[in-house]
Assembly symmetry: C2
Homo-oligomer: 448 residues x 2
């Protein structure tokens, strides 16, 4: 594969850049057409890479791209999942270069989606192309690329239900996560689930002059702040009633195994520019992001946020709040528990609305599985180090659904790095990881 | 005056509308030219009304309009203060008609500034015009109209210092406040002060993926909410150290006198659309807005506030926080106390900045004063009811400054009503109040 990469580097770049240039932001309706363009471009690339067939399929939301190469009906089949949609680029003014005009700086591609997930799914396209062109493809391969991962995949599960036969496979292979470090390759054997809601707090039915009413009327922003503040206690535990009912405590051996992953807290703090980390009492930083649930406010707004000073006592305040869940927690149950709790803590004088935004359940893939072993062997050969099994803090809700619908395990063979700052300004992806990823995927098929 | 109003109604409206059509929003730099246009229009109207001279004066900020009519150097002089700047119109989509295209509906003018303060200062223009035209003006009159009241009058105090002689007067007359009700006229004998700050809370130095970091990193929005929540205790008292040191407790007689003002709490709640009022324990609603300080968040923002769901753990969160102060409290001292306190409660893992935005001190004008008596008599004659002395919850910081600089008392003869919802969408001003105001001002000069 190495030589093949060398020979085709330039073409690879222009093909990947053609995907990165399309602002496929799934959360904003104005990009509806960009989503379609991106899906169609992907289906072109899949055909060029050697797929028997590739097509763009309608869903209730953004389209899905499906392609396949069947070498032998009796051979094992790998289903490659990826997503072509990206997070919004804002705050745009913090980008050093146009988020949708990819550039290469210091050996990395800078663009929204460079890593998450256009860059990572592109590795599969090119590994597949190589295997086909070199006649080394020894399994059937199917590709499913969706356009709604960043908004919780509202349509794919339903679509998959009605295309079970077409999607049938023995394992799901996904590159949409990070490894600990180039020098410490790792494979995610589990991901957290997600429950994401938007809350609205209404005080007076109109904006008021804060001088005339301040002190006598419940201010919805102050109320929202107090309600949010009460959601996490002094031990870093979430106060929503019943929240921890389904959380499975890992036994000491499991925790010890996960602790094998090297972690330098002072380096972690330096990277984040913070003087302290904080979280649930009794757990390490790695555990807090891997095996423990958490609650974060992702956005808050209300009142006057413009230039200068406006003395308003606002009518409404809003927040987007998400909870990361561990495998046994059901996101729909948690969303209900949250709504009930949040409404119950609303002070007199305000009304509260909780609107579920999206979510999904976490899951676990055993290290003893065939896919895990093949991936581990492949990565060891490319990196010269045996990868560490670890837990991803993020969520790919749809994978839990696909696991349920298709009855097969997803394996998260991710090549992203922390430095890629996905979802943030200046998202990037190292060329070295892009190419090592391609090599690892080729070897995965060899050992699978 | 009644007949004069009847005869000139149409002209009055077109003149007032010409002021209301100018979007003189002082807080936003894009309206710089509108500020000047509005000032120049005012100075035209003052000359047309009969001023000896009227001119637009430069300040370090928006211009000031000054005009005067000296009938006799030995006669008493009244200085009329008003402001031609207005609050921003947003949220604009909640307006039933264009905020800067005044319309008359159900006997009221709807427009930003219809009451606060273009409508109210216009009453003085027309009362003055009538007195001049009818030869009834028996005092010297000076007008000072500024363009920065809504942003705390940063320039006027300095300008007044250097124009003391020009501004010399015996009393300051101001119509920029409300009366309790048409059926319960009142005069403000005191106003609250204001200390307004903007706070910035920084967690990690970049936006992060909330899945990868959630649970281990201090989220600046959660931190800000907890800090804000802690600013007011369960008794509705502000927890800033030293905040109440200069607050004067009113004695029972004073409280009894203020309690004379009729107040219907259920009507108050109905008007606001709330099921409960809340505030400092041990005080009535009227006292909470009149004689007690308070703290309100006027705006808050951070993270992702757009459409859909973004799983971001943001780097920064902001809030605009203001405190209403009672006369003996010094806004600069309070601002310092707040900053010190707010920084002291910042949790490990975040950095805090407190930026003073604006402020001013409150003040009191004795009911025994000559101005108060004249105003009281005038209003009684027009409304047929003796006005109630009360305290305004709002702040006109500059009046405290002018009182200090010129050594004279301001009198707040306001004709606004609660229903006018100043600072909010659909601000309005009743024509009946506009015209009764003109009549009352004419009589004020008679009895002064």
């Amino acid at each position: 594969m190495k030589e093949y990469i060398e020979k085709n580097k330039e073409r690879f770049m222009s093909e990947l850049f053609s995907l990165l240039r399309i602002p496929s932001v799934s959360s904003s309706s104005e990009h509806r057409n960009d989503m379609r363009r991106c899906a169609e471009r992907l289906s072109e690339l899949l055909l060029e890479a050697g797929a028997d067939n590739a097509a763009v399929y309608e869903t209730e939301g953004h389209p899905v791209v499906f392609a396949e190469k069947i070498i032998d009906k009796k051979a094992a089949t790998v289903l490659v999942y990826g997503h072509y949609d990206v997070q919004p680029a804002d705050p745009v003014d913090l980008w050093e270069s146009d988020p949708f005009e990819p550039v290469i700086r210091d050996g990395a591609i800078y663009a929204r989606g460079a890593d998450d997930d256009k860059g990572q799914l592109f590795m599969h396209l090119k590994a597949f192309e190589y295997l086909v062109k070199s006649g080394k493809l020894n399994h059937n391969v199917k590709f499913i690329f969706e356009g709604e991962e960043e908004i919780g995949s509202p349509s794919l599960a339903k679509w998959a239900e009605s295309h079970k036969e077409m999607l049938r496979a023995d394992d799901i292979l996904v590159s949409d996560t990070t490894m600990i470090d180039e020098s410490v390759p790792s494979i995610n054997c589990g991901m957290r689930g997600l429950a994401y809601v938007e809350v609205e707090v209404t005080g007076p039915d109109k904006d008021l002059h804060s001088g005339h009413y301040g002190g006598a009327v419940v201010n919805p922003i102050n109320a929202l702040c107090s309600m949010i503040s009460s959601l996490i206690d002094e031990n870093g535990r979430i106060t929503v009633k019943g929240f921890y009912d389904d959380v499975i405590e890992l036994d000491p051996q499991e925790r010890a195994m996960l602790a094998k992953a090297p972690f330098d807290e002072s380096e972690y703090k330096r990277f984040l520019g913070v003087d302290a980390v904080r979280g649930e009492k009794g757990y390490t930083t790695m555990e807090r992001t891997g095996i423990r649930p958490c609650l974060d406010v992702n956005g808050i707004w209300g009142g006057y946020t413009g230039e200068g000073a406006k003395t308003v006592l606002p009518s409404k305040a809003y927040a987007k709040i998400s909870m990361r869940l561990v495998p046994a927690q059901d996101f729909e149950k948690i969303t209900e528990l949250f709504a009930k709790h949040f409404e119950s803590i609303a002070p007199e004088g305000v009304k509260v609305k909780v609107k579920p935004c999206h979510g999904g359940n976490g899951f676990l893939t055993p290290v003893s599985s065939k896919v895990y072993k093949a991936a581990s062997k492949a990565i060891k050969e490319v990196y010269g180090i045996e990868p560490v099994p670890n837990r991803g803090g993020g969520s790919i809700p749809i994978l839990a659904d696909l696991q349920k619908i298709l009855g097969i395990n997803p394996l998260l063979m991710g090549f992203g790095l922390e430095r890629d700052t996905i979802h943030s300004p200046n998202e990037s992806y190292l060329l070295s990881q892009l190419f090592k990823g391609m090599e690892s995927i080729v070897l995965f098929y060899k050992y699978y």
